[in-house]
Symmetry: C2
């Protein structure tokens, strides 16, 4: 299957006759013969094993791979195996879809079944193409309920229903985010890290931080297209205490306008080569040095893009400088807001998550340094390896818990009726 | 005198033989004959009657015009009168200098002398040209101490000393800001205003607010090139509780890069014609409507410049749309930070000042609406008519108080020695 077609905006007309696999599959020994040549028909998706977080820029999917449920027909089993084979034999799907195989989590247990968690994301702008594919391959034949979170769970609800006959089971994105963070931190000992010597390129090291999300309170700063800041005070107690629309979408939007690059990875790569002090007005540009009274170093940005009001400075700034300034502007502003929230409510543990931090070492180091610098070392910036997948997993867990509660209720009913 | 030359970067070589005056002068009856034809020589500037705030983008000057001190020579008196005539006969000086005659304050009293406060500003980038003019016309002949605040008081200190022989008497910009706000609000009953119906163009009205700056606490949000937020708890008790480098310099810098306009007024005029929703990703673009759970309207910006990551959207956005989005991004972000600070420390009076608000009705209305909307009506955005001159006036007042204290000390000494 040509992966460039996967999320094509127009319906896929040529159905592939076989799946090409370049990587070994868990199912290769038992399924390879059967899989090859089978079309995607009547695939049974157990909805509780998928979590989808449809954000402003990206759709994040979590998929739990486990043995096919008892009672499935051979055709269903083969269909599921074929879909798994397809997902696992690729790392990229179309122009924007990516499977983050480095984040894969084996040996996870949900509802008494053991399996592996997979993580896939693609651009929200390709949602229509994604739906075409689901319809084309009848992936919606058996799964009539899908759990979803993020704004897109609301925006695309009617489309899912009308085009695919699928009802979205919606969860609030803040709730799923908190649940997801708690799950990952509890189940992966190396999920959480911080930067040691974030400002010194030769000495900067990622260090594992033993973050127990059961010890409250803490703050979550979720950096997606925009930014939300949550104050978490209990297992399901949290409040959105701040936010800003200056987020990852702003960085990519500005970079696209100012430098012509139009994808996140190119923008990050460009920013890494730039010098933002050619673009930003620093404290030293205004004060001639440090602002001693406030303890502000001359190397602190005083006015983002402040030099750009002067034509000679604009002529001197390169695309890389502008990309770097966009990154520094967005990141510093988030850091300032996060620090304000943290210091005012007196919290020292601030967890930064969201896909803005994906492959964005610069921003994680800047946030680390900024939080430490501005709080005189009292606030530590923490990061989680599964950057943007917390909402998707949180939604899946919440759905699963509901299903299990229903099952348990049924069992109780059965027991009751049995004993009566 | 050709005002275009006033702040020329190169020394002014042709000294004018006379001043041209197109406006009536308070001194015209007594001084006009004497003034005409006199060169700017040996002008005596009493330093305490000037306050200068040298910021990242603008130099703000407050000048107190009062009768010439007893004991001044005729030549000095005429020189001072000539300079006043020049300042008052123009509203613009060079390409960036402006006298805000609509802000003029007559009948003010300082140190027992009555007079008028004048307000002048010019671009900090013209500072070198300003110094050339001061030297060319020997304005520094008698005034060896000038009180100054803002970062430029530190940055240009050596230049003032070496090029002009003037020692800058420096004051902290936060202290002078608070002092200036307190003075204006106490002495001008209509200094403070708020917007009634800020979101409804036909119904929006400026209403005078009786702001007593002697009732604490309150918050000052100073929007210059960057932004500082002060928590004021007493006459000279305050703390900087937040800030961001995304300020007026960011707005003008981004507009200059994205639209080609390179002065603040043009950028504001352009922004007034634009539609930021062509550039920003709104909550409704992500949610398909409101985000009910958080009470977020679909019309709220979710991701500033978020649409610009898509080429088709970039092609559709006009320069006016981009200018508007720059304005909305900067203003909303400031509003969000200010609101967070205010709500977390439980303060309902938030005073916005700084030259970013000059002729910027859009931003004052946006801040008004945002503060009201996000705080469910509990926080009111207040504005002051003398937008950016508080630091300059505050510095002048602080210097004057020191002088008066010294005078008082001398008198005490005299009385003591007399009685001993």
């Amino acid at each position: 299957m040509d992966t460039d077609e996967l999320f094509a905006e127009s319906p896929i007309s040529d159905r592939p006759s076989s799946l090409s696999s370049s990587s070994e599959s868990l199912y290769s020994s038992s399924c390879s013969t059967a899989v090859t040549g089978l079309p995607f028909t009547r695939v049974h998706l157990d909805s509780q094993w998928f979590g989808v977080d449809i954000g402003g820029s990206l759709v994040k999917c979590v998929y739990f791979e486990c043995p096919v449920a008892n009672g499935s027909s051979q055709e269903e089993s083969l269909g599921i195996a074929e879909m798994r084979e397809f997902l696992k034999s690729n790392r990229t799907y179309g122009s924007s879809g990516v499977r983050d195989d480095h984040l894969e989590m084996p040996s996870q247990e949900f509802g008494g079944r053991k399996g592996t968690l997979h993580f896939i994301k693609f651009a929200t702008s390709r949602m229509s193409g994604f739906m075409n594919m689901v319809r084309e391959y009848n992936l919606n034949d058996f799964s009539k309920v899908v759990c979803a979170t993020g704004g897109g769970a609301f925006k695309f609800e009617d489309d899912f229903q009308e085009r695919l006959g699928i009802a979205l089971h919606k969860y609030d994105e803040m709730e799923t985010l908190v649940r997801g963070v708690q799950y990952f931190c509890r189940h992966l000992p190396d999920e959480c890290y911080y930067w040691e010597n974030p400002k010194k390129p030769d000495l900067a090291r990622k260090k594992v931080f033993k973050f127990d999300p059961g010890i409250y309170p803490f703050i979550i700063v979720n950096i997606g297209s925009g930014v939300s800041i949550l104050h978490v005070t209990g297992p399901s107690q949290f409040k959105r205490i701040g936010g800003t629309s200056v987020g990852g979408g702003t960085f990519l939007g500005l970079c696209s306008l100012l430098t012509g690059c139009d994808n996140f990875q190119d923008a990050i790569t460009l920013a890494e080569k730039g010098d933002h002090t050619k673009v930003d007005k620093m404290v030293r540009d205004i004060y001639g040095g440090d602002y001693h009274k406030l303890g502000l170093s001359g190397n602190v940005v005083a006015s983002s893009f402040g030099h750009m009001m002067h034509k000679d400075r604009r002529d001197e700034a390169s695309p890389a400088d502008l990309a770097r300034a966009s990154l520094v502007t967005v990141t510093n502003n988030i850091g300032a807001i996060a620090r304000m929230c943290a210091s005012i409510v007196g919290i020292e543990r601030v967890v930064f998550v969201g896909n803005y931090l994906c492959d964005n070492v610069l921003s994680t180091q800047m946030l680390s340094y900024a939080m430490e610098y501005w709080s005189q070392g009292s606030i530590r910036a923490l990061f989680l390896r599964h950057e943007g997948y917390f909402g998707a997993l949180g939604g899946m867990i919440m759905k699963l818990e509901e299903e299990l509660a229903t099952e348990s209720g049924k069992e109780d009913d059965y027991k009751r009726s049995d004993s009566e």
